[in-house]
């Protein structure tokens, strides 16, 4: 639903009851979510209820069955004693929402897609001044779907083999992050149209306007090979960066001195102090010190699914590549901070 919208009706949820199902629709005019729920139907009909108030009211009811009934002007919500009478909004004012065209849709495992989106989504920008960077690029290849996101400081790429036949579109991550908790993680149809992207499951559907702009040409940024390679335990690295971040806050970079036998992490903050820690690992290449923004490094390492993470580097001024020791279907390209 719309929280800051000039159309008050968008602060409502359209509730339709028919054929043993409750269909709830919310939209902010960019993202539309429709969900289904099996209910016991006494009488069919539809109404628009004030979203926030109704949701808060239902949440505060004692556990058990909830009954929602409506007249032209009022919606009554009851459950185990308490009763709310809310003023209904005008059904006729609610925007007409067309069914998405799923004839060209690709079917994917919803859980796999939402997990992949969470991996690349960390690299998407939240600055709406540059909408292109707030999206996840869905790139269809012959035999795989590639998801790419970047905020210009880092770039995340995830490949989903076996997902074929779609088109390429840029979809706002703001909408994609809602997929799991709105339409669920079951079998999902993904339809990427010229104007809209739709994600449809048995639990509901989410439709969002695609971003109409050119995604940065990222392929040339991904280097063929790096001269230095560090392999460390993912959890140990995350914990060590977390400790370093206590001193670093957000703006001081963490230095990684890579050497035979592992890596030394350090943060030096003149007015506060410093933190140093040696982490064991396998390193091949020249001794080198490189620095990263702690948050960007943490995001990338967390997104790697393997137990061991690989950091490949060429020089302290060139982007480093992070991926799992076993799997390279997820890659995270991270620009270092100049020391």
């Amino acid at each position: 639903m719309g929280t800051r919208t000039p159309l008050p009706i968008l602060q409502g949820l359209l509730c339709e009851v028919a054929g043993g199902k409750l269909t709830v629709t919310g939209t902010d005019n960019e993202i539309t979510v429709r969900t289904y729920l099996d209910v016991e139907v006494t009488e069919e009909g539809k109404t628009v209820i004030p979203a926030k108030l109704a949701a808060d009211a239902v949440r505060k009811l004692p556990s058990g069955a909830v009954t929602i009934s409506s007249s032209d002007t009022e919606v009554e919500i009851t459950g185990n004693g308490p009763r709310f009478n809310l003023r209904a909004m005008a059904v006729d004012d609610y925007p007409q929402i067309a069914e998405p065209d799923t004839s060209q849709a690709v079917e994917v495992e919803g859980g796999m897609l939402t997990q992949a989106l969470a991996q690349v989504g960390v690299a998407a920008s939240t600055d709406d001044a540059r909408p292109t960077l707030t999206g996840v690029m869905f790139e269809a290849e012959d035999d795989l779907l590639r998801l790419v996101a970047t905020d210009a400081y880092r770039l995340a790429v995830k490949e989903l083999p076996g997902v074929a036949g779609g088109t390429s579109k840029l979809v706002p991550y703001r909408a994609l992050r809602e997929l799991a908790r709105t339409v669920g993680t079951g079998k999902m149809k993904v339809a990427l149209g010229d104007r809209e992207a739709s994600f449809v499951t048995d639990d509901g559907r989410l439709t969002v306007r695609v971003i109409d702009s050119e995604f940065p040409k990222y392929r040339q940024l991904l280097p063929e090979s790096h001269s230095n390679r560090l392999v460390v335990d993912k959890d140990s690295l995350l914990e060590a960066v977390g400790r370093a971040a206590l001193v670093a806050e957000d703006h001081i970079p963490v230095r990684l001195a890579m050497q035979s036998g592992g890596v030394e992490l350090s943060v030096i903050r003149q007015e506060v102090g410093e933190a140093t820690e040696l982490l064991e690992g396998d390193y091949s290449g020249e001794d080198m010190t490189i620095a990263f923004n702690t948050r960007y490094l943490t995001d990338g390492v967390s997104a790697v699914a393997d137990d061991k993470v690989v950091i490949e580097t060429s020089s302290p001024l060139e982007p480093s590549l992070l991926h799992g020791a076993e799997n390279e279907d997820f890659r995270y390209l991270l620009m270092p901070v100049r020391l």
């Binding site: 709406d128 001044a129 540059r130 909408p131 292109t132 970047t150 210009a152 400081y153 880092r154 770039l155 109409d212 702009s213 050119e214 940065p216 990222y218 940024l221 970079p253 923004n293 001024l317 982007p319 390209l333 620009m335 270092p336 901070v337 100049r338 020391l339």
Partner: protein, 219 residues
């Protein structure tokens, strides 16, 4: 600005007759003569109002507001809960979005962002329909009007087109060409700008600020 919170009835006599029964309301009399009666709800629309110019006659607990068209607002007061009168001075107008204003300041300091030899004539150069963000002169001596937005959309191009139309009527400045600058410019806005002979430039706020100089970017 005179503000009175009081019990009152309000009668409007003019194109139609309307009556507000006795209740607590806020009555504002602005320095320019506008009178507005507000209830305790709604962001901007008064229950009743009279635009300036008006004549306000005070007679004990009754105010009569009369405008030149003969429309009349009669406010009869009961208990007065609060009253104040203060000089508010001239309003500076609506401030631009912080980032947009900052972009304008940074680009005014670095007009060379728009090309070698570009020099600033002045910021907020006035035209009859409002000020254009930057007026510059390029290396060839041609006047350049620059409109800066955070997000470059069609309405920004339209706005710059209108400024250019007026600026080009000024023989001291003409010919004036336009540059539309924003952090990101929508394809439709680029197309419209190109069609009207306006150059589009995407600028990087972080680079201009220079505060992130040790933080490098991928592209």
């Amino acid at each position: 600005m005179r503000i009175r919170v009081a019990e009152c009835t309000v009668r409007y006599e003019g194109r139609l007759n309307a009556f507000l029964p006795m209740a607590t309301r806020l009555v504002m009399v602005k320095a320019d003569g506008c009178v507005a009666v507000h209830a305790d709800g709604g962001a901007y629309k008064p229950l009743n109002w009279m635009n300036a110019p008006n004549t306000l006659t005070e007679d004990d607990d009754m105010w009569t507001v009369l405008n030149p068209k003969g429309e009349k607002l009669i406010i009869e007061f009961g208990e007065i809960h609060f009253e104040t009168d203060l000089e508010m001075g001239e309003d500076p107008g609506l401030q631009k979005d912080g980032v947009e204003l900052e972009l304008q300041r940074l680009l005014a300091e670095r007009p060379e962002t728009f090309g070698v030899g570009m020099a600033l004539i002045r910021r907020e150069y006035p035209t009859p329909i409002g000020p254009v963000d930057l007026l510059c002169r390029d290396g060839d001596g041609t006047t350049v009007a620059i409109e800066i937005k955070r997000r470059g959309e069609i309405d920004g191009v339209e706005q710059l087109s209108r400024y250019l139309e007026f600026l080009n009527r000024d023989t001291r400045l003409a010919p004036v060409r336009g540059i539309f600058a924003a952090q990101e410019i929508k394809p439709q806005a680029k197309l419209l700008a190109a069609d009207r002979g306006i150059t589009t430039v995407e600028v990087d706020y972080d680079d201009l600020r220079g505060s992130d100089s040790e933080v490098m970017k991928l592209f």
